[in-house]
């Protein structure tokens, strides 16, 4: 899997790259991106379980619960996600849960990733159609 850090496309072996080196804040992994996007889709139930379900609905391969928790912790460490602790209802045995939200920095980093992808794809429409036709 490639990352969207941009570093790979701007290696010394590929000096012709037109892409500028990315700012530090832009470093975000694919899984992190998926989790952030899934978080944005679960507006009324922004809890880990719902995010997991949202990913399962659209993602091509399953993401384990453990990986999700780890990613959420990491995103929180990077400041892309913030959370508040809530008391759990009876059906979860009173266990606390975290209500997540994406921070402005998180949304900005997603935006940047999207822009990068757009730029990478621009001018490749014919190729994109070809891929689509093949699949």
């Amino acid at each position: 899997m490639y990352t969207l850090s941009g570093a790979r496309t701007a290696t010394p072996e590929n000096p012709t790259s037109e892409i500028d080196p990315m700012p530090k804040s832009f470093v975000i992994g694919e899984l992190e991106q998926i989790v952030l996007l899934a978080l944005l889709r679960t507006r009324d139930q922004p809890y880990a379980r719902s995010i997991h379900r949202a990913i399962a609905e659209v993602a091509p391969r399953p993401v384990s619960r453990g990986a999700l928790y780890r990613t959420l912790d990491r995103l929180e460490g990077k400041g892309y996600v913030a959370s508040e602790v809530e008391d759990g209802p009876l059906e979860r045995g009173g266990m606390a849960r975290r209500r997540y939200r994406a921070t402005p920095a998180g949304i900005a980093v997603l935006q940047e990733a999207r822009t990068l992808l757009r730029r990478l794809w621009s001018g490749l429409d014919a190729f994109a159609d070809e891929i689509e036709a093949e699949s």
Binding site: Y47, R65, D73, M95, A96
Partner: protein, 912 residues
Amino acid sequence: MNRPGPEPRPRLPPRWLRAIARLLLPAGLGGDQALGDLLEDFRLRVTDGAGSGRVLLATSAFLSSALALAVTYSLPSRWRSRRDAGPGHAKENRTMTLSTGALLDLRTAARSLRRRPLLTAVAVLSLAIGLGATTAIFSLVNVLFLRPLPGISDQDRVVEIGRTRQGQGFDSFNYLDFRDLRQRDGALEELALWSSGDWSLAAEDGGRRMAGLYVTPSYFRALGVRPSRGRLLNERAEDELGERGVVVLSHRTWQSELGGDEGVIGSEILLNRRSYRVVSVTDPAFQGHVGGVQMALFMPMSDSPTLESSPEHLTDRRIMAFNVLGRLAPGRTAAEAEAQVRTVMRNLAETYPDSNAERGAGIVPLGPVPGAGRGPAGGFMTLLMALVVVLLCATCANVAGIQTARALARERELGTRLALGCGRGRLLRLLMLEALLLALAGGAIGFALATVVVRALDFRRLPVPVSFQLDLSPDLRVFGFCFVLALLAAVLLGLPAAWQASTRPAGPALVGGGWRAAGTASRWRRVFVGVQVAGASALALVAGLFLRSLEQASQIQTGFDPSGVVLTGLDLSLEGYEGAAEGLPLLERVLERVEGIPGVERAALSKDLPLDLASHGTGVVPESWDAAGERRYFGVDTNQVTPGYFETLRVPLLQGRLFEERDREGAESVAVVSRTFAERWPEGRDAVLGARFRYGSLDGPWVSVIGVVEDTKNQMLMDSAEPFVYLPLAQEYEPRLTLVARAGGEQDLSDELRQAVLEIDPSLSLTPVITLVQLTGLGTLPQRMAAILGAVVGSFALLLAGLGIYGVVAFQVTQRSREIGLRMALGEVRGAVTRRILRGAFRLVLPGLVVGGLLGAGLARLLRSLLLGLSPLDPTAVVAVAVTVGALVTLASLFPARRAASVDPAVALRNE
């Protein structure tokens, strides 16, 4: 039984399970959140799932998710926190090393299993088969002996009381003895009588046969049963037998037969053509106190037809007709109750020595199998359990063999670990964890297998008249059993490998000489293969013996031809036809109508059928004995039949004539007798035709013999031929009959037969139509069950043993490749190499084969009553098993042997 409490609480896994899960998750908020999510998943699975297994499924999903999180969440976050904390924090983390180490080892163990998927799959599957079979049999034991009966409160306080004779047995009771027991206050607060009964419920589309109980009102109090509607039975002033003319319906009967009519209480229903007032419907859970038998209704003992026709049941201490249940008083034990009951019985024996001498009483706690049947049922289940435990041992030996091989193959890795400072305890833990993972995976699959297999057992198809339905879905007890068994298996199969690896010095493994040089490993493997072969051949022998006994059974001359005969039962005494005067004309019309069905060759009615496990005996007095004044009987079995009986069952006539229409009431009393009867006739076989005997008693009516027919097996296949007397039904009336009809072709006559009878009287209640082959098959049911079980279990065991032999031989061949190469370089031919390896394999297997043969014969000896006279060392079966195991050994060792022989000597020598 699951009544909602005052406050509905969401269903959660048990506290201890939650505690385990919490331990597996990281400390702090993250772990709390993860556990909460798991609990939500659990609840959702329980509320959305279908079927009674959903709690189990949810529980296992909960546990496996927690385990997965331990690896995918707890471990990485611990590493992360340690890395972030830096070296200065190492000391603080020391408390965590034990669990972290265990988790790490778990990960390592899982990885090492994944690296060899084929070996792992074989190990897991073998364990699944062994654990699954044991669990399946245990779930039967659970249902038959351990699981509480539904709808009974405080079942541990309910006991069954049975009469013993010289301290043996568990039989029915006498009414007066019961009353004496009841008068004693003390350890028992309630005592109740019950006896079984059957009824015909009048319905629009023909009568319905129902099984139920005659009970005293105290029956419901003793069991703590509550009514869901109405009130249960009332006592009457004169005795404890209960008011008359009323009936209590089971919830199921109320639903299925009366459509759940809310106005049922106080309404009248027709049972056996008499009107009874419904006073109550029982709690929906309650089905009676006999496991699997769904009692349709409960009637006061005072209405029992036995008491009506022979009131001496209540006054004669010699007549035993009742079963007794009791409830222990609060705080009293069954032992106290037993002592009290025994004292009463001892006093009775002194007071009434004529009737009560040698009579005692025993107490057993109430269970699904009634006290009287617990011995035989327990015996059969013990034997089944023994079979599957042998299988389980064989599978454990197989997997232990695989594990030892795996440890050997990894000697370099393990040696490196040791050399780098891994403690021996740690190494042991690693290997035990591998075994544990294998066993748990095998246990999980085995549990699923057992669930499927046990569900597939369908007791409803047994041709018995009662509604019989066992809830065989596994419960937590079965799950726990399977789990503990898996842990045990893990210890059994992990210890040898772990021990062997952890007691070896580290050096040689690294240098390359390896641990192979120390011969212990191969000795262990020889032992494992020996155990496997022993287990497999024991099971194969048991299967072989039962197959042989079935084969022998099929060759036994039964004296009749059951194929193509269908039958149904009817009881005119339940239908309001009084005596022969009303019954016979109806039966004649029924027969006429049935013989008019296209395709029916012949039909008949009879009281008894051959090979139906029942018999009716009496005595006859030959004329010569009567004339000589000898007061003794000639013991015979009897049956009452209509004229078509012998043709319908194709019982050959040997002499004289069969019954005809003229042999009826008012004509001369006649009998047809069996070959053995004729042979044992005092004046000899030739004198029997036309001879006379008194029937039934010393001054019974005179009956003349008009014909002799072939012997038939009356009760069971192993019966020796006994004298048998047939009487015409028209002369010796009997209301409880079986209608048999022979079809000319292959067609299924079940529906036609039923319709034809109901056309004559639509309110008759018939037992389900079955074939005579089915009925007589009941006699060999245990043999068939044991043969099928033995064959299935034995084939698995043989397969596993084959794999084990293959493994050992292949390993030996690899080990000896240098030697083989050298021999071949020196001129030994390939054939000789192959032969030598085969010889080695047979030497390896022989002790196991002998031990297995003896073990199998021992098992078979325990089962001898089922072997139909076959010797436990039946030569055919023994030879067949030896040949099968021989073929297996050849097959399993031929491939490695040939591979060894095809090796280029130069390559083999160079590789070393």
